[in-house]
Amino acid sequence: MATSRALRQPASLRIGSAAFLTFWCLLAAFPLFWILVMSFKSPVDAFDASALAVIFGPRTIAEGKGLSVIDIAVGLVFLYFAVRLAFTRLPGLVWALTPPELAVLGWLIGCLAYAAVFVVLLFGVLPPVLGIIDSVAGPLGQPVLGMTTEHYRAVWVENGFYRNFINSMIVTGGVVTISLTVGTLAGYGLARSGSNLAFWLLIAALIFRALPHSVLVAGYLPVFINSAEILRPILGDAAPTLYGQPLAVIMVLVAINQPFTIWMLRSFFQSIPMELDEAARVDGCTHFQAFRRVIMPVMWPGVITTGLFSFLLGYNDFLVTSLLLDSQNQTMVPAIAGYFNRETTTTDQVEAIAAAVSITAPLFLLVMVFQRQIVSGLTAGAVKG
């Protein structure tokens, strides 16, 4: 669309706006970029006062852990193709190999397998091959960029961070699944009923959404710790202590997330025309059949978006998981608090940074893949309301 001359902006305004935008992007990305850089350096380099020393890591190179020009080039090409393949070939393969009913499972297995192959190639196959090439390449084989993955190895292998990762996945997976199952039903019911009761339920949900989570945890804690005694009259000796159980935490997080979920899903359901329900009902469906066979198939975008936000809630939670889980079952985010609380040496600090980057990486991927859904989810509630 050609702008008329009256609307054209003066150069100063355009430059000012572009400069501001650049500044914001730098501000938004810099802290994250910086912890990524720091996590690959030896502790002395990571906390150096000079930014160039942090980026190039002279002392990391001196320890014999550096990348040559060839390494960087090969690595970048490998990453480029890995990402391209993930976005072009992987979906096709998943669709071809899994029956449509098991699509979710297929995606899960496909992504995990892809990630496994990726990690093996990047850390297992590339380094020795490149080591041989570097030794014969002369000046191009000299290390120029300090880089070490020792902190990641320390965090994941030696400190057993993978256990926290598995716990995180269990809790997050549970929260997303149950949240969506319960939430879609309620969201549909609320969207299709104009009764006073539905209105009051939504208002109550709005109030619940505003509650500080610590208020609720103060209510759970005594009950969860003593649950074995409280439940014994009902369940006998099989009564579980809920404190420290991932399953109990899942239920708590689902409930905390419910108000938000039903508001969001309701607004997505409302954007589906009523006529669709009515047509299905005329054809002899019950309400539930109409919901399952007619409405849900066109609801997937909304469900995926809401699922993303449930995922974020479960994955990012610190308060509930740190209070209701004991240290053996800890998820990733509270576990990191242990790192920076005991950070006595700079090595500990860099390990904490490596753990922080490990937690952030999946979220980064999430934004890359689902950017459009996240934006639509954010605007769904607001622009209409």
């Binding site: 501001f20 505003a210 610190f318 904490a352 622009v383």
Partner: protein, 340 residues
């Protein structure tokens, strides 16, 4: 839809909200008036050491928790009325401080310190979030279409990141020998210690919050900007409005409902600020109301959790939430009555 079908659809969700939100709320309310303690018995212990002719014996009175038949410490629960609240508010110290003419001393009490910080934090970040979000939205709307996707991607990162990690990533830039502190030191030629200065930490916590929430405001404002009525804008131009006037009289009024929405969400979320205290380890200098409850719930050195004081603190936090929510709820109620 018939009531029975409606109930079947909504039932599971309502059940979960009642069991995990409404009931805990009631139990917190009740707990805040109760104190549960282990039953302590006083016993005399005679310890004797070997001696010539006679043993030397001493008797001491010690206390120990009374155990029930399962070996668990017995506990009693007592009604204490408003005692937990009084412990938290320490009104006599407040009165003394006012009588002595040094109101600053009130801030030495945990609760009042947390309240002071939470309110400052909430009210100062609010205009910054709305302003920065609007500025980014206008700038992106102004930018070439081809780069908008990338800009939105980068902007979403601070929003999507785990709050504790986001706070940590900024902390590592400033605390100790952080890179930004090094730059500031080089610029000003003095030694700076951010971690030791309460106000510096407070500013960092607010900076983090604005950095974290501004993208959310941006995305919503940006969506709102796409629906600005072009005809109104054009008539404004014909009437001779300059850019600033168009922004002030056409665009901002159009975005007003969104500004209210963001302000409301931000008030609710900033009032529950918690992760900042963890990420910046600021508990020695600055605490928030929700962190106060969290801290009381953590087991102390003896393994006891002060549940009743935590409940009282939670109930006091709730009062603020109610105050924030009253105006929008009253408006929704009036709208609802207007419709039906």
């Amino acid at each position: 839809m018939k009531f029975r079908t409606f109930a079947a659809f909504v039932g599971p969700s309502v059940f979960m909200m009642v069991v995990f939100i409404a009931l805990p709320l009631i139990s917190v309310f009740v707990q805040s008036f109760q104190v549960t303690q282990p039953v302590i018995e006083r016993i005399e212990v005679e310890t004797c050491s070997a001696g010539f002719l006679e043993q030397t014996c001493t008797t001491r009175v010690t206390t120990r928790p009374l155990l029930d038949e399962n070996g668990q410490p017995q506990t009693t629960t007592e009604w204490v009325g408003l005692e937990s609240y009084a412990n938290l508010l320490q009104l006599d110290r407040v009165r003394n401080a006012i009588a002595a003419g040094v109101p600053e001393r009130i801030l030495q009490i945990d609760f009042w310190q947390a309240l002071r910080f939470t309110l400052t934090f909430t009210l100062l970040t609010l205009p910054l979030v709305v302003g920065l979000g609007l500025a980014i939205a206008l700038a992106v709307n102004n930018a070439a279409r081809s780069i908008r996707g990338q800009v939105i991607f980068v902007s979403l990162l601070p929003f999507i990141i785990t709050p504790v990690i986001g706070a940590l990533s900024i902390r590592w830039l400033f605390y100790g020998d952080g890179i930004v502190t090094s730059w500031l030191e080089a610029l000003m030629g003095t030694d700076i210690s951010v971690a030791a200065n309460g106000w510096a930490i407070e500013a960092l916590m607010m900076f983090y919050r604005v950095w974290h929430v501004a993208p959310f405001a941006f995305v919503i404002f940006y969506a709102g900007l796409q629906t600005v009525n072009q005809d109104t804008l054009e008539s404004a131009i014909i009437d001779g409005a300059n850019r600033w006037e168009r922004l002030k009289f056409v665009i901002v009024p159009h975005l007003m409902p969104l500004i209210v929405f963001i302000a409301l969400i931000h008030l609710m979320d900033a009032y529950r600020a918690f992760e900042e205290v963890v990420g910046f380890s600021s508990q020695a200098q600055r605490i928030t109301l929700q962190w106060l409850t969290y801290d009381l719930l953590q087991p102390d050195d003896a393994g006891n959790r002060s549940i009743s004081r935590a409940s009282a603190s939670a109930m006091l936090t709730m009062i603020g939430i109610v105050i924030i929510l009253l105006p929008p709820l009253r408006r929704t109620w009036r709208d609802h009555k207007g419709v039906s």
